[in-house]
Symmetry: C2
Subunit: 681 residues, 2 copies
């Protein structure tokens, strides 16, 4: 396929450039330079290559487009292509409650695949989108039925490539030979600090070749449309390597300040925009002007997309006739529904069942539910044997040529790349049809904090299996023992941080994680064995918090989570022997508990007696649910875990003694004890 | 310098290998494989190259050694070289309160430069150590007085190289042409998931060449000591590039399981260790055996180190005679003392001074104190113009050949590499003589969470200038607006998170950050203008919390921080007009406030009236200091910041109305209102 320029090309490119300048100028905020520089590539890509239907942004086999250096370009393109984004929406760029917030947000604006802006994330998302495509293609395509065959296109800038998250994802993408991934790198030599030569002088071509990518260079990305076209075409030809196209552009092309960081993050001046429009043959006195020819040209693109979707729908129907079972499964997975009764395989425990580490309980759940949930697709950041995430019988997601697995394999070897893993998982979730899970030690979820917050903001269903979740990991010591990690994740909106106390709670955590289609979950799991509790059930745990040990007219309630709940119960027993009646509440998931009715919450953390919290982590945040807090005052320690628990007084006998102090203190204080949940507003 | 093998070499290497195996076996926990594989390189490096004095681990011009894949090897070497680490300490590996915790911790064990174990961090630290050397050399060395001329040696494994933090640091190190940095990469093809071919198949040599490094390869790192020697010698010869030596080794060399991941993270079996000892000619029946010849050989190394230090001390004395001023300054900086009266340059504000963004206040402080504090050495992750961290007149830290600055320059262009920046800053702080500062948006400090927690654990004085610290950044929107970030950092032990409300508080935050030699500080700063408060002073703010607006017999106290304090004061004025007496407490730093006397803390957050917290972030954690909490219920929003504040009700009038609810609620409730700081234990 060779490139045939048409007259409307230059007009469309000029329109993108001036529209971006107008959008940023009206908002008086944003980044005009990159959209102006990337306009030609964007136009060639969307007019000649991208298979998508603007009238149905959810068509499953659409090409995915990620603007990793998230900016106004995305909105301009969505508008021109006919997505649900009006000119008024463009004019409301960066205004309150608009469809055009400062950076594109998935789930907020029609046609935005992933949330970008925080640099490097979109690059990682792109790798995830491409992995999802490869996996689903290998799983569902049949001879003559190439149902899943889209490409993922990522635009990124210097900033994205400097970020470690992109390096991690790029290295893995090369290993995985993702021929369906095409990155266009806007090599414009400008970042916020000015010329990139102040900090970014690596040889990007050589670096990506080292990762196993195809590297193509377009010397003149400003005007040489044919070269842009040929590079993308060549990228599509290469089936066994991801491609990066280094596109040399002039940032803010056409502006008086083109090629300088003056056009990076500030609006262009009015006279500059006027001159720009004149230069490009557009009316200088009109803002937000789109020539009809441009609308028409993009309408053609949209028409092609609609036709492609119709064709695909026919193919899907034919597939259904020939492969009814696979068809039903694919349709189910695209819709995001779960198989009936999948949850019946969730393990249920009795108190007499032996004590098991919750990381092991997690493995038992995964082993039980994986046959019923083929959409589980994930792995570990090189801690498989510790996270216990590989279910027996599963095979690796690997390029067939490695001899180590296939793209149909469901187990991903992420390497020691936590941040990349998190961003990739977001991309996989965004693709659809898959529930991604990822794993590392809880402490190292922090390496991926940039990605976990975007999971939550975007509503991506990603499941983190986060083992070794406290000083209970023992010997590895303070470098590996999370202290601040739980409250960090608990304070993240729309993120369910589960810290189950036993088998039933672990099953509940998985039930919640699997059924929460718009919320990521972090499952915080122990290395050490935990007894199965009398009084725990999946149903109760699904409320996020419940009374695991009841007493009437109690003197004290201890509220705890995870591995410390059994210690709280031990303390309660000791206190009872001394005549102090102690209830124990297990609070495995604050996010879930907070969603329960006030009545229920107040029945669990009720008024009448003081509430003491217990957790082998920072006490920060527990004040919301308790009057008194016991936890770690600082860093952990290296040693056999029982000794580490003793050192910090997290034992049944010490907590009993702390509990007595609390009871006495409130006795002396006198007056009614009101639940901390009773609030003024 | 060519390599002359001596008989003791093989014995020493065998000793390191077997000692590592014994140490891990006794602990029944740890990683024997890597130390066994790296023993030859470690021995050649320390016996032939490393200039250090085990009897004075703080000698300033010592070569720095970083074991990025932190493991038992470090302890074995420290013991053999004669650092303060006895055989009993080795036997207490991974035991409670020992000098030999699971992973090496700076400040905990003599001779450990930086805390390692969390992968990739040590690599970044190494780059920082090398930058510090280059900077101090350029600043203090004179013809004939090469006082600062050490090398930094980093050992790392596959895991470190997969981490994005290492990629970021490596790219910058290449740009900076750090010829004083030598990395030995243990290319043993094994990580926890088994053969690295499952996830790590990039061409490491090519990748590092792309970064501008010299790449050397030792084909047989198991036994070819001459090649190891020659590679290190060649690395030292290359003055304008960092070097990575890819050393092909056999993990667990000598074990029956050598070359498999069976020796990676689990102790060797007893019979395997016996066979190993026999194989290497050491007594099979003795554990923790060190031949006298090995102790003797390392005693020679230590002697050489002591002589080098003595020589250096003479040079320093002579330098003092010729350059008394520079000498005094260097001595001061090595000792870590601050110049007298430096704090007199801290700006002080009156309420009549105009409103200024605290990021700008930070710039004013930096501009004022930088002339007095030449040890300030830092920069931004490509947000200089937003973070306002570059003081006029400072020059860039750059290799002279770039024409952009010099190694004597104090301003670092980190590129968009937050995590690398954090790890590098830890290395710079660990070197000594420098106070590193780094900058990005508060939201992107999360990208560097892996490094900030190690700053705190290691006691590194690193100052983070974290601007754009809330929804007050406005248009960039939710992707850039921190919600969970503050509590994450506040919950990190030994980390001072400052959120100053005005000019005086910003000066206080800097005073605290500059004088806290063993605590990192994150200064959370606004993009928007903040009025200077009546009632704020540097002295008061230095307590971490104080009454900024007093009322007797108050009906309500509002406690707030940062940009919301002035809104609380506005609310208090409105409430007063309605007859509700409202105190306002500013709490810029929880960490600092918590260190004040109980009496003081209870005088600030006193009993008698309800306390309402106000912050434009997650409310998580504020329950510790207040009865009621107002903050963000979820993500922020994109728009002009005033409108975003209005949307979330963070305005004087809405907070006044919330305050009324609180007052009424507590009136209805009746009974005494006790300070939340009054606790049972």
């Amino acid at each position: 396929m060779s490139f045939t320029p048409v007259q409307s090309d230059d007009v469309a490119i000029a329109t993108i450039r001036t529209l971006a300048a107008d959008v940023v100028a009206k908002a008086n905020s944003g980044h005009p330079g990159a959209p102006m520089g990337m306009a030609p590539a964007a136009h060639v890509l969307f007019s000649r290559f991208v298979n998508a239907n603007p009238k149905n942004s959810k068509w499953f086999n659409r090409d995915r487009f990620v603007l990793s250096n998230g900016c106004a370009l995305q909105y301009v393109l969505l508008h021109l292509l006919g997505y649900k984004l009006s000119m008024d929406d463009l004019k409301a760029f960066r205004q309150l409650d608009s469809l055009t917030p400062g950076h594109p947000e998935a789930g907020h604006t029609d046609g935005v695949e992933v949330t970008t802006g925080p640099l490097g994330q979109g690059f990682g998302n792109g790798v995830g989108l491409a992995m999802a495509q490869a996996h689903l293609a290998a799983t569902f395509n049949k001879d003559g039925f190439e149902l899943i065959k889209n490409y993922t296109y990522v635009f990124c800038g210097d900033g994205c490539l400097m970020e470690g998250v992109a390096s991690e994802a790029a290295s893995l993408a090369g290993h995985l030979q993702l021929g369906n991934l095409i990155v266009v790198y806007d090599d414009n030599h400008i970042s916020i600090d000015g010329d990139t030569n102040v900090a970014f002088t690596e040889n990007v071509d050589q670096r990506f070749m080292s990762y196993g990518w195809q590297v193509l260079v377009v010397e003149n990305g400003d005007t040489d449309l044919a070269s842009i076209h040929n590079a993308i075409a060549a990228a599509k030809q290469e089936k066994n390597k991801p491609t990066i196209i280094r596109l040399k552009t002039t940032i803010g092309y056409g502006s008086k300040q083109q090629g300088t960081h003056g056009v990076h993050g500030s609006p262009l001046k009015a006279d500059d925009i006027q001159a720009l429009k004149t230069k490009f043959g557009l009316p200088a006195d009109q803002s937000f002007y789109v020539p009809q020819a441009t609308y028409d040209a993009y309408a053609e693109v949209a028409k092609r997309g609609a036709a492609l979707e119709a064709e695909w729908n026919s193919l899907l129907t034919a597939y259904g006739q020939k492969y009814p079972k696979e068809h039903a499964e694919l349709v189910r997975r695209i819709a995001g529904g779960l198989p009936e009764n999948w949850q019946q395989s969730l393990p249920v425990y009795k108190p007499s069942d032996s004590a098991v580490a919750s990381r092991k309980l997690s493995e038992i759940v995964l082993t039980a539910i994986t046959p019923a949930l083929p959409e589980l697709f994930g792995g570990s950041a090189d801690l498989t044997g510790s996270n216990l995430t590989k279910v027996k019988g599963t095979t690796d997601f690997q390029p067939p040529s490695t001899g180590l697995g296939s793209y149909a394999g469901t187990y991903i070897r992420f390497g020691v790349r936590e941040h990349g893993m998190g961003a990739i998982a977001n991309g996989i979730a965004a693709y659809g049809g898959i529930i991604p899970f990822v794993a590392t030690f809880l402490n190292f979820v922090s390496y991926a904090a940039g990605a976990t917050r975007l999971s939550a903001l975007s509503g991506h269903q990603v499941i983190w299996v986060a083992t070794h979740d406290s000083i209970g990991l023992g010997e590895d010591g303070p470098t590996h023992q999370p202290i601040e990690t739980a409250i960090h994740l608990r304070a993240t909106p729309n993120l369910a941080f589960w810290r189950p106390a036993d088998g039933n709670e672990t099953s509940a955590a998985y039930y919640s994680a699997i059924t929460s289609k718009k919320t990521p979950s972090v499952l915080s799991l122990s290395r050490q064995n935990l007894p199965n509790l009398e009084g725990s059930t999946i149903e109760k745990a699904l409320k996020g918090g419940y009374v695991v040990h009841e007493e009437q007219s109690e003197d004290l309630t201890i509220v705890s989570a995870g591995s410390e709940v059994s210690i709280a119960i031990e303390a309660a027993a000791k206190l009872k022997a001394e005549g102090i009646k102690t209830r124990v509440v297990s609070l495995p998931c604050w996010h879930t508990f907070d969603q329960q009715s006030e009545e229920y919450r107040l029945s669990v953390l009720r008024s009448g007696a003081p509430i003491l919290s217990l957790e082998a982590l920072s006490t920060a945040g527990w004040q919301k649910y308790s009057h008194e807090q016991y936890g770690l005052p600082g860093w952990g320690a290296s040693g056999p875990y029982q000794k580490v628990y003793e050192k910090f007084g997290i034992t049944g006998s010490n907590i009993a003694s702390v509990g007595k102090k609390v009871v006495n203190f409130y006795k002396q204080k006198g007056g009614p004890v009101v639940s901390p949940l009773v609030k003024a507003f």
